[in-house]
């Protein structure tokens, strides 16, 4: 067992974990932050995307011990309680989700996409979210949402 500490959504957390415990399972099962989802076991789908030290990261690609000392933000911590991040609001406005399962990961991926490229073209958005699968929307409304959040509403 390994001792780890990290800041998750602004709170200092300490835990004792198996070295093989994935970060996503640590977040979901030990911290009960179940907004981060698991949709594959090969790091293709992006449903588990969170911010680690401010950068979007697939939390199934890290062991919890590798995030020791890091700052982690999950969908629950993206905006202060009761408020919506501009991306969250844009997904709502543009019907950027249906079943909602991929949505937290998609939003967290888009956070870094827009930080790196505040005014992305449609093609850049489509490329930027290609590490995240959505089976419901055909992506068009997701693209619209990210455009809206970027202040580039069609």
């Amino acid at each position: 067992m390994a001792h780890i500490s990290m800041t998750v959504n602004g709170k200092a957390r300490k835990a004792t974990v198996e070295p093989r415990l994935l970060l996503v399972h640590f977040l979901r099962e030990q911290l009960r932050l179940t907004g981060t989802h698991v949709a594959c076991d090969t790091s293709q789908c992006g449903a588990c995307t969170v911010l680690v030290d401010g950068r979007s990261t697939k939390s199934c690609t890290l062991f919890a011990v590798q995030a020791d000392g890091s700052t982690v933000t999950t969908i629950e911590g993206l905006a202060p309680n009761g408020q919506l991040h501009p991306l969250q609001n844009a997904f709502w406005e543009e019907h950027g989700l249906q079943c909602g399962y991929c949505t937290p990961g998609m939003i967290m991926a888009a956070v870094t996409l827009l930080e790196d490229n505040p005014k992305p073209s449609e093609k850049e958005i489509r490329e930027g979210i290609s590490g995240n699968f959505c089976r419901c929307t055909g992506y068009q409304h997701i693209v619209n949402a990210i455009q809206r959040a970027a202040g580039e509403k069609r």
């Binding site: 198996e18 093989r20 415990l21 399972h25 979901r28 099962e29 009960r32 932050l33 179940t34 907004g35 981060t36 989802h37 698991v38 949709a39 594959c40 076991d41 090969t42 293709q44 789908c45 449903a47 999950t74 969908i75 629950e76 993206l78 905006a79 919506l84 969250q88 997904f91 709502w92 406005e93 019907h95 989700l97 249906q98 079943c99 909602g100 399962y101 991929c102 949505t103 937290p104 939003i107 449609e122 093609k123 958005i125 489509r126 490329e127 979210i129 290609s130 699968f133 959505c134 089976r135 419901c136 929307t137 055909g138 992506y139 068009q140 409304h141 997701i142 693209v143």
Partner: protein, 787 residues
Amino acid sequence: MPTTPVLPKLVGQRVKRREDPRLIQGRGTYVDDIALVGMLHLAFKRSDLAHARIRSIDTSAAEALDGVEAVFTGAQIAEFLAPMPIATPFPSPEHRAVAADTVRYSGEPVAVVVARDRYVARDAADAIVVSYDPLPAVVDLEQAMTGKPAVIHPDFPDNLAIALVPSGTGVSASGSVDDSAIDAAFANAEIVVSQRMMNQRLAPSAMEPRGVVAHYEPGKGTMTIWSSTQNPHILRTFIAALTGLGQDQVRAIAPEVGGGFGAKINIYGEEYVTAAISKRLGIPLKWIEDRSEAFVATIHGRDILGYVDVAARRDGTVLGLKLRLIADIGAYNMLLTAAIPTLTMMMANATYNIPAVRVTLTEVFTNKTPTDAYRGAGRPEATYFVERAMDMLARELNMDPAELRRKNFIKPSQFPFATQTGAIYDSGDYEKALDLALKNAQWDRLKAERDAARSEGRLVGLGLAMYVEVCGIGPSASLPTGGWEHSQVTIERDGRISATTGASPHGQGNETTFAQMLADQFGVPFEHVTILHGDTGVVKQGIGTFGSRSQAVGGTALLMAGAKVKSKMAKFAAALFEAHEDDLVFENGTISVKGSPASAKPFASVAAYAYVPVPLPEGLEPGLSDEAFFEPTNNTYPFGCHISMLEIDRDTGEPTLLKLVAIDDAGNLINPLIVEGQIHGGLAQGIGQAMIEEVVYGNDGQLLTGSFMDYALPRAIDFPRFELGASVTPTPVNPLGAKGVGEAGTLGSTPCIVNAAVDALSGFGVKHIDMMLRPEKLWRILQGGRS
């Protein structure tokens, strides 16, 4: 007089979804988010062979692991769990949730572990040692029909689950067959096009894998089961039957469900096993599917081979259609497996007035994951076969594909139209959809662009496809579970409205659309309406969400229940107003006497009176709550036209979809924003089938596309911006005039893209290309054409 805000009518408006705030903040509760005190976790040991006899299973190492509570082999589970039921009337081999003596597909469960957490459960499953006597794997569909290299189920010779069932012209209800009309059609033909086409196997791939939590409470003798299902009431029925409980003793809950696409209609072995072991041990249990498991353990879709023959005159008049279907259903019949290809038979008439149609269906067992409903479920296959064949005919006749179709359409005056294949199309105007698609796509201009591109040496093609599908499923005669839907509407004491629906959604936004409808019906604010669903403890009856039925069937039940309650509320209001109940107006959160707005009383005050009825109007019971079952008289038949433009890279064979124009006619729309989303998603799956998705098995029956590394799920970069449009032809089958839209996108898109690919390669002598459009396949055609 107090002023009240004027409430807009919401039906037909692009209302933002009320489901979204919880989902975008990570506050939805999916099955895997549920944690019960004392809950243990299951993991299944699965066969790594496609076909084998189990010689022995050694569970000792698994049982010795710290944290393992119990291990059950298939033989042990068979002692307390009956074989899996199906819901179709076809003969079916015994199917154990966990194989007891023989495994028949790679991934079939052979044992199950109960342990402290999912990591330990997985360790223990891996520690189970199974010894097999391998048998030859049956993989090739047409070889399977000869009984080679093995017979999978001894009672089904030549692996035939269903052999050569005919339907169409000359086939009577009793099964007698008269070939004269179909033979005459082909004898009189001036041209016949024939093609073998494979509609390949797909993995539905809802982003949320399946999962179940079962909690049997021995003290109460009741079971609560949470499952990622499209139909909790059907789940309750079957769980009760297999655990020996009454339906009143089982509560089934579909919490947030992360997509279904038909694959979560089926009731799976893991659901039965989790419930049965929970009952046996008296503790709550959870099983969550891995994605790798999902590829083998969740049903697959499609996998139907079609032999199509079309007889026509040289002017393009279609005289006859023959379609011989052979479905590879995998190793077992699941809940609806056998019925899915019958929908392909039913819809083989497509949008055309064809004098003679003959369809035959054979279903074949192979050593693969069983098939069942996947978005469209039988109708995309029919559409694909017919629309590819129509395109081949147009090419042979050198006719514009749009004009060939126009010539053969069923005309608006012919509805309701009884097809040769047993459907009664409710309403339609196919030419309207075609014309709108041609206009929106600028068909003539696209043709000029294509030709200009070709003159530059680029391989650009155009494709067009019509579709009609059967939705709003359906009358009880068409569904073994019953085809109605149920709703209960209650005006609460404070004037707010709660309503239940049996149409349990998994992304369709029913909480929003149903609230729009009730807000309009009662003239109250949208925010005052709550839609309850997905819990058989709250929603007393229901069928579920599939077959594009939520609005057409569930929405109608909702309005029917609403009308009953409104009528009763009007009686209470009439007593208060000393007016006639027919003279009351419900609007803007008030009830008033017609022509006398000053008489308006708050809606809530009438509700409060109904619950403390002093005096109680004569002939009324207190309270405002009523229910309705809606049994439709027919299915609905939405239709449309999809057009695509596609380019193939001359050097690599890689296809790129340049344009997709869709006209979909789903009748009246409740929320166009949600409808667009449904169509986008359907298009994505239909395009995925045409271009990049395919489940592939090796000759040994091993699944070669067992993860998202190998199974190409479409990404955002795979699509252009879809261009949607709608025509509106209401259905007479329900008072909403709504036909259903969930599956529409998967019908026209697939053949229209393959038609475009064939068009792009027409200079290479290509008549047909089987899906998917793998670049290597197209590159070989390009090499052949050059040599």
